[in-house]
């Protein structure tokens, strides 16, 4: 569902930019991605990317913090204005088609099954999708939980 962009999770994943340089870099990156959403043909997008670069370069030497803030604000407004209803997301990126698919269990909550003659196995899932930790057979069952 492209309607579900899961913004909260992205907010958690992205650290808050500390410096002004970081803020500008991120806005530049967002602008490039946004233009790639609208102009997916590479030749067209390249043209737009150069124009975006030009705009950013034009204000490279602005030193006044108030002007800088104003520029950042305007850029954010523009990004919001031209937002794409269905932004492209890589399959494994948050909100992508493979995101959250078959999440491996965390180590601390991996389920332990006792099968047969006290042979202890973790989940039957293959190793790439589940953390497998083997326990010694002598461990009592009640001590196995949440290790």
């Amino acid at each position: 569902m492209s309607g579900l962009n899961i913004p909260l999770q992205i907010v958690h994943l992205q650290a808050v930019p500390k410096t002004h340089t970081q803020k500008v870099q991120r806005l530049y990156r967002q602008a490039l991605r946004l233009s790639a959403d609208w102009y997916w043909e590479r030749a067209q997008w390249r043209e737009k990317a150069l124009i975006i670069r030009e705009h950013f370069e034009a204000n490279r030497h602005v030193q006044n913090p108030k002007e800088q803030e104003a520029l950042l604000e305007v850029t954010e407004m523009l990004l919001a204005k031209y937002h794409h209803p269905q932004p492209f997301k890589y399959a494994s990126a948050p909100g992508g088609t493979k995101w959250e698919r078959n999440i491996p269990f965390p180590e601390e909550v991996s389920v332990v099954f006792v099968i047969g003659w006290g042979r202890l196995l973790t989940s039957h899932l293959p190793s790439h999708s589940c953390s497998t930790t083997l326990f010694p057979t002598t461990t009592p069952l009640n001590e196995l939980s949440l290790t």
Binding site: W38, Y39, K48, H55, T75, Q86, F88, W99, R101, N102
Partner: protein, 643 residues
């Protein structure tokens, strides 16, 4: 044999998750079961369909309430066995395909179990002899579709999509359940044989209301206009699920319901009109939605809405046999489209966005070939499977010569042109245009494995030749294949007019060339640089940004895409207001008036009364004596006063 057609998929579903069968053999056994069922289904088609020997099976008594007697009974007549073909063949091929497609998934057994259970529910639906057995299958299909869409249940997006599908289907189920109750009230029985034999003796208005309830159910299940949002949301599930649900089985349930009730629908002209217009608008809406969608699977999902719209239009103009024929044809080419889309998605690392594809014709020539065949069949290219049903239905819509059919004709014709356009767009963006995928995945792109290719080839043969081979069987003049199962009122017979009239459909002769023309005109549009000013004139001040009129088209575009894919209108205007209204009703009536007059009010009344009565117990004998004397005087006084 007929019973095993229904039971074998259930067995396969149970075997798939059996611990003894394991991760490897469970799915294989499930696939074998469904393949045997497909063979049995073919035999049933020959026996009950071609040999005209319908089978009725009574499995036992279910319940009796007053004069209502409901039994577990199944019927295999020509309509049911015709439905068996797409349902069983597509189920079997999808399971074969999934053996390879879902190979790396840790929950493969569960997946196959769901697939088989889904086929079981669908078979119960098409084979049920009374409305209640049909309803059981109907609910089963809804439930298993929820489970299948939510197959990757750790995905938040899948949870939302599955809930959306389930809840929208509940709207339809409510309609059908109300129809069921009304059916009991009108007919006194739920058996199809009884209902249809009484059709011509029932009050027309009651019949129309009953049909509207059925249409509500069909609208939700078949993704018609208004309740179609779940169809695109359900693309969250794995691609074989999309092929199974949205090509052959679940979405055809609504159309099947309407076809099954053809003896009733034929007696309600209002119902027919509603159905025709609903189908026409759905066809147009789906085709328009597919034009601007970037997700490959969603384009095909929108096209499903569109094609189902055609089937509903057919029912609206009383041509149930064409609806059935288009349903079967559609199952072949749509399953092929979904499965080949799955191959593409599988090949390029699960990217579904058409913007990041392109140039795949050189890397995936086989997939391109089958997808081209499916698309040509979808856009009714002459002598492909889709042509025989779609072209004929467009010809037939004009025969009745009334305003409804004229409107439906215009809607369906525009939708036909648009369907050619979005199919061409899909092919061009995915296969022919310049490559746009990330460079890192280019060495990984590969053709699907042979296990995945076999179903594609079988379906490709079906979507090229099936229509040519069977059009005389399903549409032929004067054949007795349907044996009155699909009833067409003599006043609505149009098959002869369409076949013999030379003038009807003079526009249609230009439709295939028109689609080809669109295909060619679309091709360079992808490479043409845009002259619109979005980022080139990107102003760096807010006031300039607000004044920039050149960018307004993007707002329209966003709105358009938003309306079609997310249904903001539905969300903001209908759902929000319904919620607000229900809050008001809940607070003022449920928790207000009814509470005050009901339990809470009575409790407060008794509390206050008992408090007053308590005041009388003062502890003085004189007071008690006074109350007794006063009562003795007061009661006869009141008695005399009243009587």
């Amino acid at each position: 044999m007929y019973l095993s057609i229904v039971i074998l998929p259930l067995l396969g579903g149970l075997l798939a998750v059996n611990r003894k069968c394991g991760v490897v053999w469970g799915p294989i056994l499930s696939t074998i079961c469904i393949f045997i069922t497909a063979i049995l289904g073919t035999i049933a088609f020959f026996e009950a369909g071609l040999s005209e020997a319908p089978v009725y099976i009574n499995l036992g008594h279910w319940f009796q309430s007053g004069y209502l007697n409901v039994e577990w009974s199944l019927v295999f007549d020509s309509l049911t066995v015709s439905m068996l073909l797409p349902v069983l063949y597509v189920s079997a091929l999808v399971q074969l395909y999934s053996l390879s497609y879902m190979d790396v998934d840790p929950h493969k057994s569960r997946f196959f179990s769901y697939l088989s259970l889904f086929s079981f529910a669908m078979l119960l639906l098409v084979a049920g002899e009374n409305l209640l057995v049909l309803f059981v299958g109907w609910e089963g299909v809804g439930l298993v579709s929820y489970l299948l869409v939510n197959f990757w249940f750790t995905r938040l997006a899948a949870n939302f999509a599955a809930l959306k599908a389930f809840l929208i289907n509940r709207v339809g189920d409510t309609g059908l359940a109300l129809g069921l109750l009304l059916g009991i009230a009108i007919f006194g029985d739920l058996s199809f044989a009884t209902i249809f034999s009484m059709a011509s003796y029932i009050n027309g208005d009651l019949l129309t209301i009953f049909i509207i309830f059925l249409v509500i159910g069909a609208t939700a299940k078949s993704g018609q206009m208004g309740l179609s949002t779940w169809l695109t949301a359900a693309m969250e599930g794995p691609t074989p699920v999309s092929a199974l649900l949205h090509a052959a089985t679940m979405v055809t349930a609504g159309v099947y319901l309407l076809m099954r009730h053809s003896p009733l629908i034929e007696y309600s002209s209002t119902g027919l009109m509603i159905i025709a217009l609903l189908g026409g608008f759905s066809a147009l809406l789906g085709a328009a939605g597919g034009l601007l969608e970037n997700d490959m699977k969603r384009v095909i999902a929108f096209s499903t809405t569109s094609q189902l719209g055609y089937m509903v239009v057919c029912i609206g103009i009383s041509q149930h046999n064409i609806a059935l024929f288009h349903l079967i044809n559609h199952a072949f080419f749509k399953a092929l489209l979904f499965l080949s889309a799955g191959s593409v998605i599988h090949a390029i690392g699960d990217i579904q966005d058409l913007r990041k594809m392109g140039g795949l014709i050189l890397l995936l020539p086989r997939t391109y070939a089958v997808m081209l065949l499916a698309s040509l069949s979808l856009m009714a290219f002459p002598f492909m499977t889709g042509f025989y049903s779609k072209d004929f239905l467009l010809e037939l819509i004009l025969v009745p010569r009334n305003s409804t059919s004229a409107m439906a004709y215009i809607l369906a014709l525009v939708a036909a042109v648009l369907s050619a356009t979005y199919s061409a767009r899909l092919l061009i963006l995915a296969f022919i245009s310049k490559p746009n995928y990330p460079r890192i995945i280019s060495p990984l792109i590969h053709e699907p494995s042979s296990l995945m290719t076999i179903p594609l080839l079988v379906l490709a043969v079906g979507s090229v030749f099936f229509g040519y081979l069977t059009h005389d069987l399903f549409l032929g003049l004067g054949n007795t294949f349907y044996q009155q199962v699909l009833f067409i009122h003599p006043n609505h017979l149009a098959l002869l007019d369409a076949s013999l009239s030379a003038s009807s459909g003079y526009l249609l002769e230009y439709l295939p060339p028109l689609t080809l023309l669109l295909l060619f005109t679309l091709f360079p549009s992808n490479a043409k640089p845009s002259t619109s000013a979005t980022t080139s004139s990107m102003p760096l001040s807010l006031s300039a940004a607000m004044k920039d009129s050149g960018s307004n088209q993007y707002f329209y575009l966003a709105m358009y895409t938003g309306i079609l894919s997310h249904f903001n209108i539905l969300n903001h205007f209908i759902i929000q207001r319904t919620l607000k209204l229900s809050v008001i009703i809940y607070r003022s009536i449920d928790k207000g008036l009814l509470e005050k007059c009901g339990p809470l009010g009575l409790k407060q009344l008794f509390t206050s009364l008992s408090f007053i009565v308590e005041q009388f117990s003062t502890g003085f004998v004189l007071h008690y004596a006074f109350i007794i004397v006063a009562t003795l005087v007061f009661i006869p006084f009141v008695y005399i006063l009243i009587f």
